[in-house]
C-alpha cells in the first residue's frame, strides 16, 4: 500500500483529504506544518505528499526545497493543495519541483484526477 503524507495546518482539510485518500487505497499520515513533514520524511519517505502552501513554522515552498535535497527526497510525487489560484503561483510551484496542483476547495473527483495526472493512478 502506498503512503501519502497530508501536510496542512487545517485539521478539517487533513480529515477531508484523509477520507478521500483512504478511499483511493493510500495509507495516510498527517503533518501540521513543513517542519513536522520533513521530520516524517526523514524516517519514512512517502510515495505521495499533499502539500499546503501557507503554513506556520515552515510553509510548502520551503518544505519542498528541503525535501528535494534529502536522500530519496526526489522520489515522492508532490501535489500542492492550496487556496492559491493565480496561474503564476501554480507555474512557480511546478518549476520548484511539484508534480501537480489542486486549488481549494476540492472534491474526491478532483483529487483522483490530479493524482492520476501526477502518475499515482
Amino acid at each position: 500500500m502506498k503512503t501519502c503524507l497530508v501536510v496542512d495546518d487545517s485539521r478539517v482539510i487533513r480529515m477531508v483529504a484523509r477520507r478521500i485518500l483512504e478511499d483511493m487505497d493510500f495509507q495516510v499520515a498527517e503533518a501540521g506544518d513543513g517542519a513536522d513533514a520533513l521530520a516524517f520524511c526523514r524516517s519514512t519517505m512517502p510515495e505521495a505528499i499533499l502539500l499546503d502552501w501557507h503554513m506556520p513554522v515552515m510553509g510548502g515552498p520551503e518544505f519542498l526545497r528541503r525535501l528535494r535535497l534529502e536522500p530519496g527526497g526526489e522520489a515522492p510525487r508532490v501535489i500542492y493543495c492550496s487556496g492559491e489560484s493565480q496561474v503564476e503561483r501554480i507555474r512557480e510551484a511546478l518549476e520548484s519541483g511539484a508534480d501537480e496542483f489542486i486549488m481549494k476547495p476540492f472534491d474526491a473527483e478532483i483529487v483522483v484526477g490530479k493524482f492520476a495526472a501526477a502518475g499515482l493512478a
Binding site: Q86, V87, I90, L94, E100, M103, I110, G113, K114, A116
Partner: protein, 266 residues
C-alpha cells in the same frame, strides 16, 4: 410537477432533440426546469410548462429542451482516447488537410482539448469544428472562460499554466487556442448539418441519452458526414447502432469506421 407535465416536457424533448427523458427521475426534470423558470421570471415550473404549452414560443421551447439535454463534459475526458486521437491526427495531418468535428460539444472542453493537443504536438493543418444543441453552451464555449472547478476536471496543472490566464476568479483560454475552433449551434436531429465532410467526428456520451430511432438517425447523419476512411469516436463504453455498418478500430477505444468493402458496396 404532475405526471402530465412531466410527460408533456419529455415528449417535447423527444420530438425536438430525440432525447430520452426518464420521467420517473422527476428531480432531474425539476432541477433543469427550475433554472429556466427562475431565469425567465416564472413563479413556478408549472407556470413555465403552461406557458410553453399554450404559447409555443420557440425561444422558450429551446430553453426548456436545452436545459434538459445532457451537459456533463470535462477537459481530456478519458485520457487514453486523447492519446489515441493525438497519434491519429498526427498521422492524418501528414497526408493532407484534416477536418475534425466535435458534435454535441457542450461547453467546449472536448474541442479545446483537441486544440491544446494539436498545439502541444506541433500538429498543423487540422480544422476543428464544434457544435451543440444549446445556444448557451456555445456562447460559453466561444468565450473560453472556465471556473476553478471546470479547469480542475481533467486538466493537468502543466496544461493550465501553458494555456490559461486568470480573469478575475476564472480562467481564460489562450486566444490562439480559442481561434482554432469554429463553433455552430446545431441540432443533430436536423437533416444534413451542412458542415461538409470530416476525417474524424467525435460524438461521445451522447447516443446513450437518445431514444432508439433518434440514435439511429443521428448516427446515420454523422456517418454520412465522414470522409472515406474517416473515424467516428464515441464514448469508450458506447457502441453504434448495428444498422449503421460501423466496426470498431482495433486498439483505439471508442473509435469506429466504415469498412472499405462496405463503402465500396454502398
Amino acid at each position: 410537477m404532475t405526471p402530465k407535465e412531466r410527460d408533456y416536457v419529455a415528449g417535447l424533448c423527444a420530438s425536438l432533440a430525440g432525447l430520452n427523458i426518464e420521467t420517473e427521475r422527476g428531480y432531474m426534470l425539476e432541477s433543469g426546469l427550475g433554472v429556466v423558470a427562475r431565469r425567465e421570471g416564472f413563479g413556478s415550473i408549472a407556470e413555465l410548462v403552461r406557458t410553453v404549452r399554450d404559447r409555443g414560443d420557440e425561444r422558450l421551447v429551446c430553453e426548456v429542451v436545452e436545459a434538459l439535454a445532457p451537459a456533463q463534459t470535462a477537459f481530456f475526458r478519458d485520457p487514453d482516447v486523447f492519446a489515441a486521437l493525438g497519434a491519429e491526427l498526427e498521422a492524418a495531418s501528414g497526408r493532407g488537410a484534416v477536418r475534425v468535428w466535435s458534435a454535441a460539444c457542450g461547453t467546449g472542453q472536448e474541442a479545446y482539448s483537441l486544440a491544446m493537443l494539436l498545439e502541444e504536438r506541433g500538429i498543423e493543418g487540422v480544422e476543428l469544428f464544434a457544435s451543440d444543441l444549446s445556444r448557451r453552451a456555445i456562447e460559453k464555449a466561444r468565450a473560453g472562460v472556465y471556473n476553478q472547478f471546470e479547469v480542475q476536471q481533467g486538466l493537468s496543472a502543466r496544461r493550465l499554466v501553458r494555456h490559461f490566464a486568470n480573469v478575475e476568479d476564472d480562467f481564460r483560454l489562450d486566444p490562439e487556442i480559442r481561434r482554432q475552433v469554429k463553433w455552430r449551434r446545431l441540432n443533430l436531429m436536423d437533416a444534413a448539418p451542412g458542415l461538409g465532410s470530416f476525417d474524424m467526428i467525435l460524438c461521445r456520451h451522447v447516443l446513450a441519452s437518445l431514444l432508439g430511432p433518434a440514435r439511429e438517425r443521428v448516427t446515420a447523419c454523422l456517418v454520412s458526414a465522414l470522409r472515406p476512411g474517416g473515424r467516428l469516436v464515441l464514448g469508450v463504453r458506447e457502441t453504434p447502432p448495428a444498422t449503421c455498418g460501423l466496426v470498431s478500430v482495433p486498439g483505439a477505444p471508442g473509435m469506429f469506421e466504415i469498412p472499405a468493402k462496405v463503402r465500396a458496396a454502398a
